[in-house]
């Protein structure tokens, strides 16, 4: 588990609309090449914010990414 990998990805999803659009269109393709564990990758592909938070994703990011936020 990498706190940095998970959170830097969350940050990009929040702050980079183009990257967010690519992720929304094809999450697996958008994540290709990123240094994630299989658990992290699966959680992002499933848009499972609870799991992403459990894996170290900061709460305020998982609650505020446009279109993906958990409430």
């Amino acid at each position: 588990m990498s706190r940095y990998a998970v959170n830097s990805l969350l940050y990009r999803l929040k702050k980079e609309p183009d990257f967010r659009a690519r992720f929304t269109a094809d999450a697996a393709a958008a994540l290709a090449g990123l240094d994630l564990t299989e658990a992290e990758r699966s959680a992002f592909i499933a848009r499972d914010m609870r799991k992403i938070n459990e894996l170290g994703g900061y709460l305020h990011l998982v609650m505020s990414i446009p279109g993906l936020a958990a409430h």
């Binding site: 929040k14 609309p17 900061y58 990011l61 609650m63 505020s64 446009p66 279109g67 958990a70």
Partner: protein
């Protein structure tokens, strides 16, 4: 000789729509009640004609990326812009109707920074970081249509472990008080955030608060017993959802041993709302 002429601390997501969505009608009523008290605090602040307003708050991973996460950071420069977010969600939405830019009190910010480094506080500085709801929601609620005094935004890292200690935040507040006392300015200071919410920053625990812990903090603030506050660990603050109390610790250090008056305390499923003002000599 300068003086701290106003000190107050308050919750900082001041958005009836947000709490209506999160908690229903009671959420709206509670935040409107705390906002009314915060507006009255703002009237008292304005009446004292401050030359500057120091705002101690935290970043919600908006101003700083993972490029650098400063423990304590002073915003310098001539003005500061509000954080922008496309398709804002949740607590980011409250910013949408607020002014874009706010003047800074450059000389006071530089004095806190420069004298801080000389005094042993290894402060970070920023010319560019934007401010999010933690700063602007209270500032705009306090002022309404009245002019906002030049700001000195100061960030405390409340969320990204390891955070600065409560004791260090308090000591930094004492430094701020010394800088103000040596200056020619009348200064207001507010700290924002809290009280208890989002324990352990855990999504399944959103909705839990710790009223017992809040009451303990309030007791120590009301009685002016600040020594126990210095013993608070970031671990226990994390467990109780009191992360943002580190901001309050800076303010308490700046006004110690002044006693606090609670203007509002309201329990809500998502967060316990508070507005507190200190009686200053």
């Amino acid at each position: 000789m300068g003086k701290i002429v106003f000190a107050g601390a308050m919750s900082h997501v001041l958005d009836p729509e947000y709490y209506d969505r999160a908690c229903g009608a009671v959420g709206r009523q509670t935040v409107e009640a705390v906002m009314a008290e915060i507006a009255r605090m703002g009237e008292r602040l304005s009446a004292r004609k401050p030359d500057a307003l120091i705002v101690v708050a935290d970043d919600h991973l908006n101003a700083f990326s993972f490029n650098a996460v400063p423990a304590l950071c002073v915003r310098i420069g001539r003005d500061v812009q509000r954080m922008t977010q496309d398709h804002a969600e949740a607590f980011d939405k409250v910013l949408e109707h607020m002014p874009d830019r706010y003047p800074l009190h450059e000389d006071l910010a530089n004095a806190i920074l420069e004298q801080g480094l000389e005094a042993g506080f290894d402060l970070a500085l920023s010319w560019e970081a934007p401010v999010d709801h933690a700063f602007l929601s209270p500032v705009n609620t306090m002022h309404g249509a009245r002019p906002i005094p030049p700001l000195v935004p100061i960030w405390v890292n409340c969320f990204v472990a390891p955070q600065p200690t409560a004791r260090r935040c308090f000591a930094f507040g004492q430094h701020i008080a010394r800088v103000v006392a040596r200056s020619p300015w009348n200064v207001g200071i507010i700290a924002t955030g809290g009280l208890s919410h989002f324990p352990e920053l855990s999504l399944p625990r959103v909705g839990e608060t710790d009223t017992v812990f809040d009451r303990k903090l309030i007791h120590w603030m009301e009685s002016g017993k600040h020594e126990p506050l210095l013993e608070l660990t970031t671990g226990e603050l994390h467990k109780a959802g009191e992360h943002e109390f580190l901001n309050w610790m800076v303010l308490i250090g700046a006004v110690t041993p002044a006693r606090a008056d609670v203007r509002y305390f309201g329990e809500l499923r998502r967060i316990n709302m508070a507005a507190v003002e200190w009686s200053l000599p």
